[in-house]
Symmetry: C2
């Protein structure tokens, strides 16, 4: 049997060595955590639910890492520096070793991004991990969704569909697949966000599918796009443009800031909507993941 207080003790010290550099002046053990930095705070919350966001046979280490990684991807998409995270965990598991593995996953990502675990809540209930992330801008700038301008290039940095392939390979027990990591341990693009924050005109993380997330940029920016379907780097097939969970950033930038390491997939237009072009005969429509309709 596992007690609430054992769990709190298990999670308590995660990332605490980074408290000072992150301005965490009061961390787990009081009613609230306190972040004291002379900077704006960017924050977001993401739920990771068993059998919705991850398969129930994933390892606790991967579940823990992934739950924080997907939340952190929102900090990357703002071009900000991670500072800390909080976790609200509901779980029915009574095996303390499972929680130790989960805590290891949290510790892995806390160390990777030098973040502090600053608070949380644990409750008995269906497995559900809510992660709140806190960050700060590197300078005064944020990446937002609403700044894309006519003529800007639309870019991504990795082939789409890698996570979808990783999940398929996981479910088919292909333990040697190089795509497993893409699904189980997505890398929040923190360094990329930091790099482009000064010149990208808009940015979003690709969590629900490239086209669906790009569409958020277009709507927010009140612009349209021409997409060159042939130029989108894919993993399995053209449907990957609607695959979720890749956690790359999709961003727009002035043509003169284009770099060879970015994949240009289209351009921003004044005319609203998305116009798809292809010489290979590809066709496309936006099929973003709607948690309430598409299950």
């Amino acid at each position: 049997m596992v007690s609430e207080f054992e769990l709190i003790k298990l999670f308590n010290g995660i990332g605490s060595k980074y408290n000072e550099q992150n301005g965490i002046v009061l961390s787990p053990g009081d009613d609230c955590a306190v972040i004291d930095l002379p900077l704006p705070i960017v924050t977001s919350i993401d739920a990771s639910i068993c059998d919705v966001h991850f398969p129930n046979n994933a390892s606790a280490k991967d579940i823990g890492y992934r739950a924080v990684a997907v939340a952190l991807s929102d900090i990357a998409a703002m071009g900000c520096q991670p500072r800390g995270f909080s976790i609200s965990l509901s779980c029915l598991n009574q095996d303390i070793s499972w929680y130790k593995d989960l805590a290891d996953g949290f510790t892995n990502i806390a160390d990777e991004f030098q973040m502090s675990l600053i608070g949380g809540d644990v409750t008995k209930g269906p497995l559900n991990i809510n992660v709140v992330v806190y960050g700060t801008p590197y300078n005064s700038k944020f990446l937002k969704r609403n700044g894309a301008k006519k003529g800007d290039f639309i870019c991504i940095t990795k082939p789409v569909g890698r996570a979808k392939k990783g999940l398929e390979d996981f479910q088919n027990n292909k333990s040697e697949s190089s795509f497993l990591e893409d699904y189980l341990r997505p890398k929040p693009q923190i360094e990329l966000g930091k790099k482009i924050v000064n010149y990208a005109s808009s940015c979003i993380d690709i969590s629900d599918g490239l086209l669906s997330d790009l569409n958020h940029i277009l709507v927010s920016s009140k612009v349209g796009a021409t997409i060159l379907l042939d130029d989108i780097p894919i993993t399995s097939d053209i449907d990957d443009i609607n695959a979720g969970d890749d956690y790359d950033l999709c961003f727009t930038l002035p043509p003169q800031m284009m770099e060879s390491k970015f994949y240009k997939i289209g351009e921003i237009t004044e005319e609203l909507g998305i116009k798809f072009n292809s010489n290979k005969g590809y066709d496309a429509s936006i099929k973003g993941f709607d948690h309430f309709k598409n299950e």
Copy 2:
């Protein structure tokens, strides 16, 4: 059928009229919210799970109000001013009117405390509402758990057990009971926190039971207490000292700061542990609510 985007639209404007006063410079609709205030940020997360934290037949309005109120109680316990909140909602309900009522509950408490709803996440899953709260100190001071000193009076401001009675009355359909509000719509003691922040030596909110929560103060402060069981204002019987959900504050203060509106229930001692006194023959032991063991 309800879509994720309908829900996001439903929740989007809640409390937005308070954005400016709360330093919310970017609210729902981007990857993160941004809070820009020249002050430390206090933050906490609380889960409200159906059949654990509230009965499944409670109204959506009360469920929404209550989920935010219990989280806000942590801001009160820090002696801080509420600024905003985020919500991560998992739900299987497909009735849009239920969500409208839930949104009404959120709006009620946002208006009561002039807070902005700054972000969130909605997912299909068992009913689970995670609320993150954000606040700031009124001046440079916070109420913490670790400052109680020998000779300090231990105080509360309301009879304990009111919420327990309210839940019983709700379950017995006693719709005229004055205790229903205590359970369904607990009032976060924001004004009380503000009042005592300059002189209380420690503070905690009573969510898991008076004795259990007081014990957190004693452990954090490395002190003990003498409790006068006869002086504790109770609602039904002496077991109310272990009843949860009251969301009053339990705090310690120097004797000279005592006020007639506070109930003194004991004093801080150098000797560790709690010593119970009673002329009425009451006896007591700490039975705090452990989410993993006591269900």
